[in-house]
Structures are given as structure tokens and as C-alpha cells.
Amino acid sequence: MTADRISATFAACAQNGRAAFVAYLMAADPDIETSYLNLVALSEAGADIIELGAPFTDPMADGVAIQKAALRALAAGGSLTVTLELARRFRSVNSKTPLIVMGYANPIHRMGFAAFARAAAEAGVDGVITVDLPPEEDAPLRTELAAHGLAVIRLATPTTTEKRMETVANGSSGFVYYVSVAGVTGAGVGAESDISAGVERARRISKLPVAVGFGVRTPEQAAVFARISDGVVVGSALVEEVRAAVEQGDPGSSVKRISVVAQSLSNAIASARAVRSVH
């Protein structure tokens, strides 16, 4: 289970000659019930791995889309506890799709690293990404998560030097998350050649799959990244669908919107490598 579920998913995708589609949504956005339906919709539309954002008042590594999603979620009663409840509910109907909780350190610290690791494992979570726990600071959480077989996915970025890449990759489990551009989530996307070089840098050092995220919006961009990495993470573009639904006064319609967008991203990623070989 747990970290194994992540490895099995990447292995299965690799065997099918494609990258994994990693989809991000904010837990409890726009409300707890719709958020659950959105998760199910994501998995049915072809998301191979789901990142579940835990809302935080001060998301300093996120762009406007995810900042607003966090505020919507908090206003709807979202919290770290609710995030784990959503995970548990999703897991009770889906035993296959890996679930990764992505968030900031303070709510986890407040719950207590040990208590969080236990609760996350019980909820069926497979891995954790904490944006503001760099390798220098993640050991206390990593130890607790490891005791429950949960992965700690570390971030590598364009500023991560060759030497640092070793530090990052060696303590990561599940996969390495390569951040395509120095910036916040939802910002512009980096140049393909730079990203490709970054992914290669990570691959040279780590045996883990390398997924690329930040700034992927369209199926076309997803396809580009799918050719050069083992997984493509899409967040802001999905979260924006929730915003659009809320702004139209029909939060429930986010389920349909998410389905449509996730399906087209999933198709683009699945066929990306095949398409290239035709050219």
C-alpha cells in the first residue's frame, strides 16, 4: 500500500508507454460535498494520481487561483482534518488511485507530525508534499510518515543545483516533483528545453519517476511535458474550473466542468508519445 500504490501507478503508466496524469484539487473547494464529487470525477476522467490540497490561510507558494481556492475552502469549513476525511471517503470507493496530500507545514505541525502521519495513513493517503518543508527541515515529518509507509515527495526546481539535486532526490520517495519554473503555482510555464534539462538532472541522480508541474494549463502543454517526464501535474487549470462554476452561481456544475477538462488533459497525456512517433 501507500508509497507502493504510487510506484505501481507510475510503473503501469510506463508500461503503457505514457506519462502519469497527476491532478490537483483543493479539498473542500467549493464546499465539502462538491469537493468529494470532484475527486471522484477526476479519477473517472482519467487522473492517475490525485493531489489533494489542504487549505491554508497563508499559501505563499501559490498563485492567485490556488490562493482563492484555499480561501473558498476555509470559508466552506475546510481544514486539514476535513482534507483527511475527504481522503478517507474517496479511498472507501477507490482503492487504486494514489492520493497525495499537498499543503503547508503549519496545520500539520499543529496536529503534530506523529498524529498527522497516523491519521493520513488511516485515511488511505499515500504521500505528502509540504511546500515549506525543504530537505533541511523535513526530517521530523519524514520519519513519522516513513513509519507508516507514506511517501514524502520532494520538490526540485530550476534553482536546485546539481549538488543539491542529490540532497533533494535522495530523501524523496514516491516520485520527484520537478517545478517547471521559478515562481508560484499557476504562473507562466518555463521553456521546454530548460524543463527537459531539469528533469534529466533529476533522473541522473534519482531512480524515482520525475513528474513536472507548475504552469501546465492546456492539453497541448500537458502533451509537451508528457514526452519529457514520467508525470504531468495540473492544478490551477482545474481549480479555475471550480472558480468559474462558483462565479456562475452554480458550484455543483464544477463536477461536470472538471470532468471535461480532466478528460481532455488525460487524453492529451495518454497519446502524447504516440503522437510524436507519428511525426
Partner: protein, 413 residues
């Protein structure tokens, strides 16, 4: 001082206070480097560059020269005879950092950081500001060195600190109002961090208080320690002895740590920080993170934070925009847990009263921030009695606050 470890903490009694932070940027269990990976290499570089700068006599010379000729240091140590008489207890001295160029202690730190930015070849400066004092000081130094400057400021603060907003604009800075969440200092800091992560190659982030990821709490403390070093020398000269108590207001803690740090090894000297009590620490409307908060992780460091049961950050409230922050520098968290310094609070109302008292009795219009310290100085003077000796950091002047104060007093200007 006791040797017992404080309950519920891994903080141990240090051998010497000067040894902190350790190699990991920790003051006991506080501090650290809790930043996104994109910033990590930069934060490590900054630490290396700071170590080199500290060992470079030229850097120190330039810093000292600017402090003397541009800021106007040393700032005087003033015996506040009328306040002393009024309270009827210990002798009260004011360390006059409000006389600095730009009107507060903030400029000491800005000079140090901008000199570091120049050494690192950075071509663009960003800063966050609450009251606008740090923004004005940063914009001032950027004008002096011809560097472009972008200041992030919460929308609420832009509104209540108009004179400083205009000042920054005159100085050539670009002001970015931040509307996310409540539009105060923490939101400005989030936005500054977002800008930094996006422009990491060219940009230096000048943090305005002794908080943030290591090495910021250390270097801000070092740059502000000029206050305590001067104070120590001046009070020895004036009174032939060390003070019994040092008092300073606490926002993020930079003026306080600047005064306290050079006295830490002097066991006889007590240190009292004054947090903003807002409407009272028994209400949700305050900014007293040590008194009313719990350890947590925000803005790069582990420290005391105002937070709820889920670890969500609670908005701070203070009449003073400069104290309106839900956290505190990690070294204060450490001094608090070890008991080396103690922390009290002062309400909005008490600060307003102290503001008026100081103005009438001494002809010194204090900023609302040090007015908080002054309110507690009255109590401490009585506790110490006539033989006592207090040094308080008058860390800023009140010109920036007169519009807000008029509003609170129900006057139109």
C-alpha cells in the same frame, strides 16, 4: 534564572547567548529555514555572503559610515526627567532611535541588507511593510543607491498609513497594495515571498524585522544591535552602571532584539518586551503572539504564532500597523522559553494614553509602537522603585501616526 528546561519544549539553557543561532539557523527550538525549494539555494547563498561580509572590514566601514553620516548615529540617550517624576519610580532613559533619518530604527537594518544585496550583484529590491516605516527606510536607501524598489503593503495598511505611502512614492518606489485575506502585514509578506520566488535571480528581499528564514533573524539582529551597543556605552557613561531593565515594543521584534542582544550576557539586566494587546489578550483582537499564541511554522521560521486549532493563522489586531503581525522573531520565542526575557502586553487604549503623555511631558511625539513600551515602563518604574534604572527604546517618531491618532481621539485635522 532557573536551569529547568521549560515545559513542553526542547529548548535547553545555552552556555552563552552569543552562540545562537546554531549552524541550522536555530535558536533552541525556533528559527530554521522553512522556505520553498526555489528559495533554498538563495537563502544558503545569502548566509555565505553575510559571513564573508562580516569578516570584511570594508563592509563594516561602509555600514558604519552610513550610520554615522546618513542616519545620524549614535542616537542620544536621554534622561526623561519629567516622565520619571510622573511615574515616581525608577529613572527612565529613552534611547532616541526616533531621531534617525526616516524616523525609526528600521533604517539601520535596511542599510545593512542593501549593502549585502549590492555585494551579491542583485539589481532589484523588494520589501514588505506594515506601518510603512520599513518601506520608507528601504525606499530611502534604494534612492540613495539608485536601485529599483518594490514595496508590498496590505490594502488596509495603505489606507491607514497614507503619509508613508506618499513618501515611498516620492522616493521612487513602486507600491503594490495586497488585497488577499485581510490586507495587512502578513499578506504583504506572503506577496513579497511570491515575488521573490518568481524573480529570484535578480531580486533581494529586504525583510523588515528579525524574522523570516535563517539567516534573516540573525543578520537583522546584528544590524540592529548598534542600538544596544551604543546604549550600553551611553548608560555606563551617564549612570556608571548597567540598567536594571530594558524595555522595547515587539512587532516582529527587531528594535527589541537590537537593544537586548548586546546585554544578554549581563545577567543583572532584565529584559521586557511589550506585545500589542489590541482590545485585550482575552479577546480575539490582539497581536500578542508570545502571550496568546503557540509555536508553529510561518514565513520561513518556527516561532510563536496566533493560530487556531487547525493551524490556520489568525489575524492580528493592533492600533499600530507596525505591531499588527501574528508572529514574532524566533530569537524572542527562544528568550521567552528560556526566561531570559519576559513579555508583557499593552492595549490600544493604553498605548494611546502613553502616546499623549509622552508628547505632553517630554515634547516627544512617539510612534504608536514605542508608546506600547512606554505604557509598561510606567508599571516597571513603580515596581523597581526610586533606585531602579530603565532604558526604553524610543524606536520611532509619531509623525506617521498623527492622522490615525486624531481619528481615535475623535478629532478632525
Amino acid at each position: 534564572m532557573t536551569n529547568a528546561a521549560p515545559s513542553g519544549s526542547s529548548t535547553t539553557r545555552p552556555n552563552t547567548w552569543a552562540q545562537w543561532p546554531d549552524a541550522n539557523g536555530r535558536f533552541g527550538a525556533f528559527g530554521g529555514r522553512y522556505v520553498a525549494e526555489t528559495l533554498m539555494p538563495l537563502v544558503l547563498d545569502l548566509e555565505q555572503e553575510y559571513i564573508r561580509a562580516k569578516a570584511d572590514p570594508k563592509f563594516q566601514e561602509e555600514f558604519d559610515w552610513l550610520l554615522e553620516h546618513y542616519v545620524g548615529r549614535p542616537s542620544p540617550m536621554y534622561y526623561a526627567e519629567r516622565l520619571t517624576k510622573h511615574f515616581g519610580g525608577a529613572k527612565i532613559y529613552l534611547k532616541r532611535d526616533e531621531l534617525n533619518h526616516t524616523g525609526a530604527h528600521k533604517i539601520n537594518n535596511c542599510i545593512g541588507q542593501v549593502l549585502l544585496a549590492r555585494r551579491m550583484g542583485k539589481t532589484r529590491i523588494i520589501a514588505e511593510t506594515g506601518a510603512g516605516q520599513h518601506g520608507v527606510a528601504t525606499a530611502t536607501i534604494c534612492a540613495r543607491f539608485g536601485l529599483p524598489c518594490v514595496v508590498f503593503m496590505g490594502e488596509t495598511d495603505v489606507e491607514r498609513q497614507k503619509p508613508n505611502v506618499f513618501r515611498m512614492k516620492l522616493l521612487g518606489a513602486e507600491i503594490v497594495p495586497v488585497s488577499s485575506d485581510t490586507g495587512t502585514l502578513k499578506d504583504a509578506m506572503n506577496e513579497a515571498l511570491r515575488d521573490w520566488v518568481t524573480n529570484v535571480a535578480t531580486t533581494f528581499y529586504v525583510i523588515g524585522t528579525a524574522a523570516g528564514p535563517h539567516p534573516y533573524p540573525m543578520l537583522v539582529r546584528d544590524f540592529q544591535s548598534v542600538i544596544g551597543r551604543e546604549a550600553r556605552e551611553q548608560i555606563l557613561k551617564a549612570e556608571g552602571r548597567l540598567p536594571d531593565v530594558l524595555v522595547a515594543a515587539i512587532g516582529g521584534g527587531s528594535n527589541a532584539i537590537g537593544l537586548f542582544h548586546p546585554f544578554l550576557e549581563d545577567e543583572s539586566v532584565k529584559m521586557i518586551g511589550v506585545e500589542a494587546g489590541g482590545h485585550g489578550v482575552d479577546t480575539p483582537m490582539h497581536a500578542a503572539s508570545l502571550t496568546g499564541g503557540l509555536p508553529g511554522i510561518l514565513h520561513g521560521n518556527r516561532t510563536y504564532l496566533l493560530q487556531d486549532e487547525d493551524g490556520q493563522i489568525i489575524d492580528a489586531h493592533s492600533i499600530s500597523a507596525g505591531l499588527d503581525y501574528p508572529g514574532i522573531g524566533p530569537e524572542h520565542a527562544f528568550l521567552h522559553e528560556t526566561g531570559r526575557a519576559t513579555y508583557r502586553t499593552c492595549t490600544d487604549k493604553e498605548a494611546l494614553e502613553a502616546f499623549q503623555l509622552c508628547t505632553r511631558l517630554e515634547g516627544i511625539i512617539p510612534a504608536l509602537e514605542p508608546a506600547h513600551a512606554l505604557a509598561r515602563v510606567g508599571d516597571i518604574a513603580k515596581e523597581l522603585g526610586k533606585d531602579g534604572l530603565i532604558v526604553m527604546n524610543m524606536c520611532g517618531r509619531g509623525d506617521k501616526d498623527i492622522f490615525a491618532v486624531a481619528g481615535h481621539l475623535g478629532m478632525k485635522i
